[in-house]
Each structure stands twice: as structure tokens, then as C-alpha cells.
């Protein structure tokens, strides 16, 4: 299967090329500090993109994840500020905040999923709608400004982003766990298998006793939970949420999924490819900041060119045939 192996190595090759380019452009690129930075920052989009892989694989789409992250962050911060007098600063407060984030994420995902599977509306429309709704709500709750976590609480919570064990930051560890769990779920569990089957041909899946709607619902719920998890790691970083939190994360997450080799039409998902896609996107930003370009106005153009090139590299000639 030479075809498979080309598309398998494709995104990896693009990643390696970027790393070589980065190392060539700047000596600090491969420093532990920079690597930690890049990986830790990738973690939010990364976890979301892993969830998005399942949604897309089963033939869905979710445009609301960025706004959902902002909304969850807002709710989490409000909840923690509200519980502070009762719980005091400490692990219970942080755990309570985390529980709120996961709960809100679950409910948001459930909302999307129910509208899509029960009411039978196109995922694009449902999540375009909820995207506007979540973002508006955050802006409204924050009164147009920023919701900030209480300073002391934040100091306590901060290590969840900045700390770690064995010198590895928490976001990186959590991201790695999510990625591995996602890969296993996709390859080695019924859930992943059913997602692929549904995306490939939902009628066949239904004929084969797969509970199509329930599985699709689960993909949105899982994605909501992962957005919640990402938010748990995001909030301690800056301790705030506003209407501009998570802006365009949806586009980045979807792009990562597709760069990674998952088909937008569904039927074929590759979680590790998504991880590579996320890293490619993060590295592009990092390299643009580290290198001295003609003009920062052109960042977007260079980003665009690299994204397309990364995928050209991956698809190679094979796709002339078309799927």
C-alpha cells in the first residue's frame, strides 16, 4: 500500500521540515523552554482538535468550540469567584471550578448534539448558531469587558498551567494523555469504529445495528467535555475570559484535523494526524515570531502558504485520482 504510506508520512514530513527550518532560523528554537512553550500552547487547540476528529469522522462539524471555550471559561471564573467565600482558597475551590467547566462543556456539547441528532438540523447551521450564542453570552456576562478570576485564587490555581511533574508542564501531560486516549478510542474501541462507519455510510451503519444518532450525540458531548478540559488548563494561564477568548479556535481545530489527514466528508479519522496538524499550526506561529520577516503584515500569507504546502506534501500525486 504505497498510497497509504505516503499520506501517512506526509504530515509527519511537513512537521519535520518545519522543525528543521525552525532550528535553522533560530538557535533557541530547540531549547527546552521554547519546546515547552510551543507544546503547552498547542494543548488547548490540541485537545479540542482531538474531539473534533471524532465529530468530523462521523460526518459532523462543530464551529462553536472557540466560543464554547470562552463561555465555559466565563462560567468557570464566575462560579469560582462566587464559591470563594464559602470554599476559601484551596484545592476544593479549584476542583469545584473544574467540575463546573466540565459540566458546562458537557451541557453545551449535549445541546449541539441534540439539535443536530434529534431536530435533524445541519451541524454547520446548529453550531454557527451556537457559536454566536455562546460568544454573545460571554460578552454580555462580562459586560463587554473581561471576567477575571480573583487574584489570590488565581495564584493558587496558576501551577495547573505553569507547573508540572518531571519538568513536563501539565498541559503537555494532559494533552498527551488525551491524544493517546483519542488514538486508542479511534482505533481500538467500538466508538471509533462506529464513528468511521457512520461517516462512511450512515445507512450501512444503521443497518448494522449501530445506534447512529446516539453515537453522533456522543461525539458532540465528548467534544464539549474536551473543550471543558481545555478551558480548565486555559484559565490558570491568564486568569481571565472575555468576548475575544478562543477567537477562531474552531477554524484552527478543524484545519488541524484536516491537515492531519482526516477526511472532511467523514469516514476516516486519524487522531495522531490531528496531533501532528496541531503541532504544525503552532510551529508556524512560533517560527514566524522567531524569524525576522519582511513585514509582520505578511504573517497570515506565510501561514496560508505553509498550510497549503503541508497538505500538498501529504497528498502528493496520489490524489489526482480523487477519492
Amino acid at each position: 500500500m504505497p498510497k497509504l504510506s505516503l499520506s501517512t508520512t506526509g504530515p509527519l514530513a511537513a512537521l519535520v521540515l518545519l522543525i528543521v527550518l525552525g532550528a535553522f532560523l533560530n538557535d533557541n528554537f530547540l531549547s527546552a523552554g521554547n519546546i515547552t512553550n510551543v507544546l503547552a500552547r498547542s494543548a488547548f487547540i490540541g485537545m479540542i482538535a482531538v474531539g473534533m476528529t471524532f465529530v468530523i469522522t462521523s460526518g459532523g462539524l462543530d464551529l462553536s468550540v472557540g466560543s464554547m471555550a470562552a463561555f465555559i471559561a466565563g462560567m468557570m471564573i464566575m462560579a469560582m469567584n462566587a464559591m470563594l467565600p464559602t470554599l476559601g482558597i484551596g484545592i476544593p475551590l479549584v476542583l469545584a471550578g473544574m467540575a463546573v467547566a466540565l459540566l458546562v462543556g458537557l451541557l453545551a456539547g449535549l445541546g449541539n448534539g441534540l439539535l443536530i441528532t434529534r431536530a435533524g438540523i445541519e451541524p454547520f447551521i446548529v453550531t454557527l448558531g451556537t457559536m454566536g450564542i455562546f460568544r454573545s453570552l460571554v460578552t454580555w456576562i462580562a459586560d463587554g469587558g473581561t471576567l477575571s478570576l480573583d487574584f489570590e485564587a488565581r495564584q493558587f490555581y496558576r501551577p495547573v498551567y505553569y507547573g508540572g511533574i518531571f519538568g513536563i508542564a501539565w498541559p503537555i501531560i494532559v494533552f498527551a494523555v488525551v491524544a493517546v486516549a483519542g488514538e486508542i478510542a479511534m482505533r481500538h474501541t467500538r466508538f471509533g469504529r462506529y464513528c468511521e462507519a457512520i461517516g462512511s455510510n450512515d445507512k450501512v451503519a444503521r443497518y448494522s445495528a449501530v445506534k447512529v444518532e446516539r453515537m453522533q450525540l456522543w461525539t458532540y458531548v465528548a467534544l464539549g467535555l474536551l473543550v471543558g478540559l481545555a478551558t480548565i488548563l486555559y484559565v490558570p494561564r491568564l486568569g481571565s475570559a472575555s468576548g475575544s477568548t478562543g477567537l477562531l479556535w474552531e477554524l484552527e481545530a478543524i484545519a488541524a484535523v484536516i491537515i492531519g489527514g482526516t477526511a472532511l466528508k467523514g469516514g476516516y479519522g486519524r487522531v495522531w494526524g490531528t496531533v501532528v496538524g496541531v503541532l504544525i499550526l503552532s510551529l508556524i506561529d512560533n517560527i514566524l515570531n522567531l524569524a525576522d520577516l519582511v513585514s509582520p503584515y505578511l504573517n497570515g500569507a506565510i501561514q496560508g502558504v505553509i498550510i497549503v504546502l503541508a497538505v500538498v506534501l501529504q497528498r502528493g500525486k496520489s490524489s489526482a485520482e480523487g477519492r
Binding site: 512553550n37 460578552t139 463587554g144 491568564l238 481571565s240 468576548g243 522567531l290 509582520p296
Partner: protein, 295 residues
Amino acid sequence: AQDKTFVIGVSIPSATHGFMGGLNWHAQQTIERLEATYPQLDFVLATVGEPGKQVDDLEDMLATRNIDGLVVLPFESEPLTGPVKAVKDAGKWVTVVDRGLSQPGIEDLYVAGDNTAFGQVAGEYFKANLQSGAKIVVLRGIPTTLDNERVDAFQKAIDGSGIEIVDMQHGNWNRDDAFTVMQDFLSKHPKIDAVWAADDDMALGVMEAIAQAGREDEMWIVGGAGMKEIIKRIMDGDKQIPVNVTYPPAQISAAIEMTALRFVSDTPVYGRFIIGSTLVTQENAERFYFPDSPF
């Protein structure tokens, strides 16, 4: 003069970053207050995310809301000049806020911050407090004309001081973006003496990145626009963030109030009001501290 009600349209960009958030808040507060005080005044508030849509809003205010006066903060100067002129030509009162139109003489009243001064005041502080050969980095806002004005003025102000801007990137007036950019600046430059973050949201992101790298003692930061958290720190004498430059979001309140006065009284309010950018230091910080504002 209770027999006629006046409708005043207020069109501003939506709350996409800290400063605009503050401005939105002040606008709504002022409108609420004025509507309570003057029952004969009616306000129409519209917020937008794109210049084309702002034109739509102005058209709607003219066509369906029968406004008598307009307070507008143009999303961008050039594209809004024509449409605002159309409002003026329809015989309405026009107040322009913050960003001037590209053609002089359209508006009745102009209330604005001073972007050139904003960059210049910051630049002068850098010049006065850094040695020749000092290295600084700059975080810019969203690419716009006003960002250009600020940065140009800043560069002009430090001209000839021997201060070197070793890097400049867009942080888009956004905490997360500023955090990321600053992380990378810190990886890239072993020595940075100071940061001009040009906006308090960005300053907060920058501070986190510096804290993470443990280089708090190496450099200080100047933000801008007078966010309450930052002013508080200056009051407390935080060495890392010694000063701030004002660019008050409350200018919208001044503009709305003056426009309202035009309709409820005979106060002559024509003219140009430029709210200068001043340097906030530990000494005068208290005057700029509004703990209730969301910004």
C-alpha cells in the same frame, strides 16, 4: 421643552477587546443615565464588528429610527466618511468620536483621544528612562491606521536616543496573542530592557509570559489606556509596570453627554475636544482609578 422627543443614534464598534469593552460599558452607562434624566431623549445603540456593517447601521438609523443626532465612533475613517456625511447632509447633528473622518468639516462635534500623543508620551518615557543601547520589544495592535499613528509617534519619540527596537509583532490588543508573542520574544532575545505593550490587555499577557520565564527583574512594561488593574498596580508602586498612558474609553461618555446637551438645552457644544494622553505615575494614579468600570 418636554413636547418633542429627540432620538440620538450611537454607533460604536463591538466589544472585541478590552478598550472597546470599556468604551461599550461607558456608552451604555451614559445612555441609561441620560435616558433616566431626560425623558425627552431616546437613544439607539448599535455595535458592529466590521466597517461595512457600520454603514448598514447608519442607514438603518436614518431610514427607520428617524434619528435627530448621531454619535459615531468610526470603525475605520475612510469607509465611514461618506456615510457619516450622508447623515449630516440629511440635516442631522453629528458627533464623531476617537477616529476622525478623512474629510474635515463634516462633524459638528469631535471628541477624541490623541493617538499621536499616546505613542509620543510612551516614547518619551522610554527615552528618559533607558540608556542608549537599551533593547526593547514592541507589541502592536490590530493592523489599523490608528495603530500605525501610535507606533510612528513612539518611534519618532525615541529617535536618536540609541534605544533599539529589537522586535515588533502584532498582539492584536489581545491577552492570549500578546502572551504567545512575548513568550517567543523571550526565547529569541536574551536581553530585553523594556516592553512597550501599547495596551493594558496586552500588558497583562506580557507580564504572565515574563513571569513564566522568571525574568521579572530584567525589564519593565508600559501598557496603555488605563485599565483599572494596571492603574492599581501603579498606585501600589509595582516596579515592573511603572507608568501607564491614558487613552480613556470614557471619551464616549463625554461625547454622548455633550450631544445630549445640544438637544436638551441651548448650550453651544460645537467644536473639537481632544482628550490628551497623559502619563500615569504612582503620584497621579489615583485620579485615573475607576474600580467599577469593567475595564
